[in-house]
Symmetry: C2
Subunit: 239 residues, 2 copies
């Protein structure tokens, strides 16, 4: 069964694909780093024996993903790619597959449970004050609309990510937020309410564990707090 | 201090940037989904009042990040973007900033600690058998070269990700692997050996907790197993 081989057939690689790969390989092989200039279109075209149009298309792709940048008077220069930016564009259009969306939903829960050690190592008094204000707002506005509640929910969990001090993680989570919401509303079976009649760890309790520097209680509490979401995924994966 | 405002100045948006944003907005506003065709170059050019060259460049970007695909006889069709692919290209060139590299190093630890619940819910007997084979290899080849040890190390942790059943997570982790290695070797201070004279949870012990279905012991053990890495980051972030 040739079809089962998880290998990319040669003929799906276009000339532009190949040129793109050659250029990134060139960057690596020559240990070029940020700020270095790379050869001009014409030079690449001659060295690779292809038309300038093909080279232009390949370079344009590398520009799109942020690896190269065109500077006036300097030509093409290597630059720091933005790790998150292309994700943003991809997620934004609602074109991802259902299976990927569910994976991402799960990924967010995984990140939140996994970041507790970093969170405890880096939290500051100012962070806790801000978090407390969010929890206060949540409790006084308990009777407000669902949208308002959701905003506070997002503020609380967003603050936890911010407190982790990991900017890539924080941007990644911001990015996952709309996916989370979307999957939450459309793609997963509802949580079964009868299963959750037992008491759940509240935002106030999580805050208190942070203030008391009780990492063990916080880990347990967070796991409990996120359990309904996790159960929905795991139910789904069994069926 | 205008410079402190975290806002993108208008003049950094090129005409192509603006056209790209208009087209993605068009896709969203019209609720287009995978398989739908989008208007031709010329139609976009006329509707937006810009040249076909500008439209072509913007469409080429969207093709690069996987949102559109050109099909014979059908024109341009919306497609499922590959969530991970552009990451791969970006990481591959070693152009990321040090700060981002360190964030990613940390992110991998966070993912591994966070995925334990999913791992326990989905692990199968076949998984455990395979993991045991890896651990056996590790123990018999204890005297082998560092590279060999590293291979087994990667095999063990890679298997854990595979067992999570989350394909996006798994691909993401594969992708982070070279970064992890790079940061491990070049960007962080060495772990201080004297601090780690106490006994660490071994791969064999982690395997046994999985076999005994003891999630609590596994979580504690994994945390202990990853502690030297985590300590290095947190040391660094204090200084």
């Amino acid at each position: 069964m040739k079809k089962d081989l998880n290998i990319t057939p040669l003929n799906t690689l276009s000339l532009v694909d190949k040129v793109e790969m050659r250029i990134t390989q060139y960057i690596k092989d020559n240990n070029l780093s940020v700020g270095d200039t790379i050869p001009k279109e014409l030079q690449f075209a001659e060295a690779l024996g292809v038309s300038r149009t093909v080279i232009r298309e390949a370079l344009s792709r590398l520009r799109t993903i942020g690896i190269i940048d065109s500077k006036k008077h300097k030509g093409m220069v290597l630059s720091h790619p933005d790790f998150i930016q292309n994700f943003e564009k991809v997620i934004d259009t609602n074109l991802l597959e259902d299976e990927t969306l569910k994976d991402i939903f799960e990924l967010r829960l995984i990140l939140e449970m996994g970041m507790v050690d970093v969170l405890f190592a880096r939290k500051t008094k100012e962070d806790l004050k801000e978090l407390e204000e969010i929890v206060d707002r949540m409790e006084t506005n308990n009777s407000e609309s669902t949208i308002f509640k959701l905003e506070n929910e997002v503020a609380f969990h967003g603050k936890l990510y911010e407190m982790s001090g990991n900017k890539t993680l924080q941007r990644f989570q911001n990015l996952l937020l709309p996916v989370f919401q979307y999957v939450h509303e459309h793609k997963l079976p509802d949580a079964e309410p009868y299963k959750y009649s037992k008491k759940f760890t509240t935002h106030r309790e999580l805050l208190n564990y942070l203030k008391e520097d009780d990492i063990k209680a916080f880990k347990k509490g967070l796991s409990n707090h996120l359990e309904p979401h996790l159960d929905r995924i795991l139910e789904k994966s069994k069926s």
